[in-house]
Symmetry: C2
Subunit: 207 residues, 2 copies
């Protein structure tokens, strides 16, 4: 199909398609004349993935480029998921040194115990340090004292997350599913948790 048809088929405006081509997010079509190229179903699929990465996942263009390059180099699934995870935006905080040290003391034994990878400097580990450090000085650290129990639930949830992704077959769909699932899945679970808290509160505190 020509560019105009690719645009209709995918719902992506021609100007956006041209931008993705320039940025290396979409491979060039097969040239049929100096001014024309032919595109195939793989372009439709790739456009869908790129939009999911940028618009749902919130990846930067550079991070999305790393993802599509990893797909094109036929990186194994575990590497693909690693590239996605590093590309997904996480809240960045800079806790003061005291709060940071306090958070590290809480986190490191838990990370070790659960056999997780990651340490200072790693973007996901630092997101956890920032989240835990935010409790420091608030004197409401009941949740942090239960970090190990929350970590155990995170392990169970990750099994579910990966089972969902593992049911997919192509590298594109796995990567797309991981990006969408991580970002939309966080929002979904936050809402589920609040509905569940309501019931737990009724059970525990109803007079």
């Amino acid at each position: 199909m020509r560019m105009a048809e690719l645009s209709r088929e995918s719902g992506v405006p021609v100007a956006t398609i041209k931008y993705y081509l320039r940025e290396g997010l979409l491979p060039p079509g097969e040239r049929t004349s100096p001014n024309q190229a032919r595109y195939g179903e793989e372009h439709v699929r790739r456009l869908r993935l790129v939009r999911a990465l940028l618009e749902v996942g919130g990846l930067t263009v550079a991070a999305a480029r790393e993802v599509v390059e990893a797909i094109d180099q036929r990186a194994p699934t575990h590497s693909l998921l690693g590239v996605i995870q590093c590309g997904l935006p996480v809240p960045k905080t800079e806790p003061d040194p005291e709060a940071r040290a306090w958070a590290l003391e809480k986190i490191e034994p838990v990370v070790r115990k659960h056999g997780w990878k990651g340490g200072p400097g790693d973007v996901v580990f630092e997101a956890l340090v920032g989240a835990v450090a935010a409790f420091a000085g608030l004197e409401r650290v009941e949740l942090v004292e239960r970090l190990d129990e929350y970590a155990a639930l995170a392990d169970r949830m990750a099994e579910l997350d990966l089972a969902a992704v593992g049911s997919l077959t192509s590298p594109e769909s796995i990567v797309e599913g991981a990006a969408i699932g991580t970002v939309l899945g966080d929002a979904m679970f936050t809402a589920l948790r609040r509905l569940a808290q309501r019931r737990a509160s009724a059970e525990r505190f109803r007079d």
Copy 2:
């Protein structure tokens, strides 16, 4: 203590204390002369709670006022937690009618099965509708198909959340713990989940 000392003790600027007094977030001190009042430890505690609600919890002044009024009316713990939950900001989305209908079809049996309260129009229920509806049309609905399993994990997490809050004794500390725990706890769990996903991916997909 006088206003200046209350400010030093609590770390809240005098101008902010006066604003909280005007907005009914802080009860007036005991008047000792036409221009002076005396404040006590209960004002220090209340200031801490109000800051936690506004700055960590992200409540509006009106929502925080409802929380402190509920405390002052000695509302039972379950009601207090309900007031907090309605006051906490949740993402608002307006899915198109088709996506909304699709989401409701997925959600309603799960909510019923788990014995949760909430339906259309309720702010937390609508947050879940918005989160699930965001998957509609993306063709990556593996997570949504497992909504029931995620709901079961949400039930277990809510038990943990409520156990943490239930270890507190005063209404102020319960409300403060719930607001802080809900908002910071979401961020903490999101980071835990990503670290856990990394390990689960290594186990499932490592060649």
